[in-house]
Amino acid sequence: MIPEIGHFALILALCVAVVQGSLPIYGAAVGNSALMAIAKPAARAQFLLVLIAFCSLGYAFAEKDFSVLYVAATSNSQLPLHYRLAAIWGAHEGSLLLWTFILTWWMFAVTLFSKHLPETMRSRILGVMGLVSVGFLLFMLTVSNPFERLIPAAVEGRDLNPLLQDPGMVVHPPMLYMGYVGFSVAFAFAIAALLGGNLDAAWARWSRPWTTVAWCFLTVGIAMGSGWAYYELGWGGWWFWDPVENASFMPWLAGTALVHSLAVTDKRGGFKVWTVLLAIMAFSLSLLGTFLVRSGVLTSVHAFATDPKRGTFILAFLAIVIGGSLALYAWRAPRVGLGGSFAMVSREGMLLANNVLLVAAMGSVLLGTLYPLFLDALDLGKISVGPPYFDSVFAPLMAPAIFLMGIGPLAQWKKAEVPDLLKRLKWAFGVSLVTALVLPFVMGKWTPLLSLGLLLALWVVTTAVVGLRERLSHSNGTGLSDRMAAVPRSYWGMLVAHCGIAVFIVGVTMVKGFETESDVRMNVGETATIGGYTFRFDGTEDVVGPNYTAARGTFHVSRDGRETTVLYPEKRRYTAQNQVMTEAAIDPGLLRDLYVSLGEPLDGGAWSVRLYHKPFVDWIWGGCFIMALGGVLAISDRRYRLAWRKEKEPKVAPVARPARCEVA
């Protein structure tokens, strides 16, 4: 009964979405405010309906209702409750439901925080989001219904893929989807601006916080996915340039470019057409990511569906959304206007260069990801594009972008003087260069890449310090704390996010430069030493988990004769599908991770064992979280809070500058 309610709620949601996607947009075109007023209640109704559907599926999982095909396919009676609930997004159908649910959640958020938007703008935004929602609801209801019944009911479920039975898995997909789908708001803003032919600084100010929030979620989502791969796959790698990872990374690159481009549109009214294009790009790549990951074109834990009907549907949907919005862009973009002019050497110029580099990097990732698919589709042979390709293309494109990241925030808008910049930055550069050259020798090993990585990281931090010092000396206030408070939060946010990049670079550089790995055969009582740490293998014992049995190894780790920690890696056998899984044991630390995973049992109680010493590896994810924190700081800026406060007061000020229409 409950699953039918969920199914019915989805059908109703589709009806509402159709209304929401048509009437308000039409109303905005002809100026009919009654039609436009439909948008808000429709969006809220849709949110409620999809919420009902989502909860129904959750209920079916909680109650172990194996008469629902999807529940039977992705859970098991032995599976603990939290994993049963996480199994909602453990496979294709449910993750689409999650996608749609998050889309309606964003819609709901737009209805809450859009009182200061002109009515036409708001109805267009919600209308566009409604249309996207129509696509996803139709997809679910026609070819991948999560509520499909299995008659007769299965006695036992097939169980969730053991790789996904992990706390990281519970949080990673919702985070990632919040990011993906969050770009739909920026996309809807862009399409609404194209439809209205009106794109001024106020437009950028409205869409900025939305984009930043989505970007923060995406950053955290990707970091969590990477962390999950690190400890769950048992290979000690944190990024494989796997197509699935690339699928989430491409929207991030486009989104990062968008965040910066929006800053220019907001502050200087420039880059308008480019900003709109980036917004379309970021969302299109999110859709492409969903398609790549969920259609079964790519093969990995993420690829659930192999049904060609689904592939065709998503492909058609992609063609309509991307093709349609680009056509609209080609038609309407000239009306939006280019915005103010600026000199080559200026903050705009640097941001433009940064944008071009980010998009070029995105393009190279896209090419490496899609090229094998094209060849395969055209029957020209099977190839794979490995990590070396991405490493050798991505790094040279990002290095100059990161170098510019140091200079950009210090350059004046419109026109900056090179000698002046040189004067302000010489200390930062000198300090970074010397430290980057000397530090590797102190640590006992020098390679060009090690120095380059450290140089870039130090450069970002030192230029941030220079920028902050200048900012503090110019701001009002007597004491240091007064002056610090006078610096706007968006500026702090920028600094923090940039320093996050620096932390990330340090992590990558140090891991690549100093990690040690060794595959060894270990008898009980035998020791192996890597990175100065001695691992003693004390044999394995059998343990029983809720839905698995495992061999658990004991490793005593010591350094200079003193015990550092004891690690318990496991080799689990999940009973439902008789699937073996390696559960690595990690001793995390600020300066290094110690990582042990069990290979295979050999004769006489011996095991093949994989040992890693990974210096600074946690800085990689730490850097990502710091970046996201920077984003959060930026959106807590006074400007946005003022805008929200204004909302609560009953229409005191006229709505921000709708008069400045730029109709050609």
């Binding site: 390709y389 050798s392 699937q579 073996v580 899984m581 295979e600």
Partner: protein, 160 residues
């Protein structure tokens, strides 16, 4: 600089970045594309010598042998028509099993043994890497006598 000149400079810079990116991409492609060959193709001498490539198929039953060091393994990858012996030093992935699909990346040695640097079998139990599935399908299509009854599992949820 006049605005027009400035625009040219911008376009020039954009093209420069694009050019550099293209050079990097082509260069990296040249070095890092890994082609896939079926055991039949390898047996026919189609695979390149001294260059890394991938092979895929079934791990032949009873072919897995482990050396005394516990790390070096030998096994045979087959597409039911032809088979290729493979040597690998390292820890095999969890889902590597005899009678299941696997893909290996490495180089062909002088003695015809494939020396793998990486073995991929990181999917669920009844899943077949697409390359391996295709190798089997090709061998089947080319009329090879089926010595074993092979079932290529269709990774569909309907067949619970």
């Amino acid at each position: 600089m006049k605005p027009r000149h400035k625009r040219f400079v911008f376009i020039g810079l954009g093209l420069l970045v694009l050019g550099v990116a293209t050079v990097l991409v082509l260069n990296a492609f040249q070095k890092n594309l890994v082609f896939f060959f079926t055991p039949t193709m390898v047996a026919n001498g189609e695979a390149p010598k001294g260059q890394s490539f991938r092979i895929g198929g079934m791990v032949e039953d009873g072919s897995l042998v482990r050396d005394g060091d516990g790390l070096t393994v030998h096994f045979v990858v087959t597409d039911t028509a032809k088979s290729v012996p493979v040597t690998y030093k390292g820890i095999l992935p969890d889902l590597f099993k005899e009678g299941k699909g696997a893909v290996a990346q490495g180089q062909l040695g002088a003695d015809g043994t494939f020396v793998a640097s990486e073995v991929l079998a990181k999917h669920d139990e009844n899943y077949m890497p697409p390359e391996a599935a295709e190798a089997l399908a090709k061998a089947k299509a080319s009329g090879a006598q089926e010595s074993k009854s092979l079932v290529v599992p269709e990774n569909k949820k309907d067949s619970l």
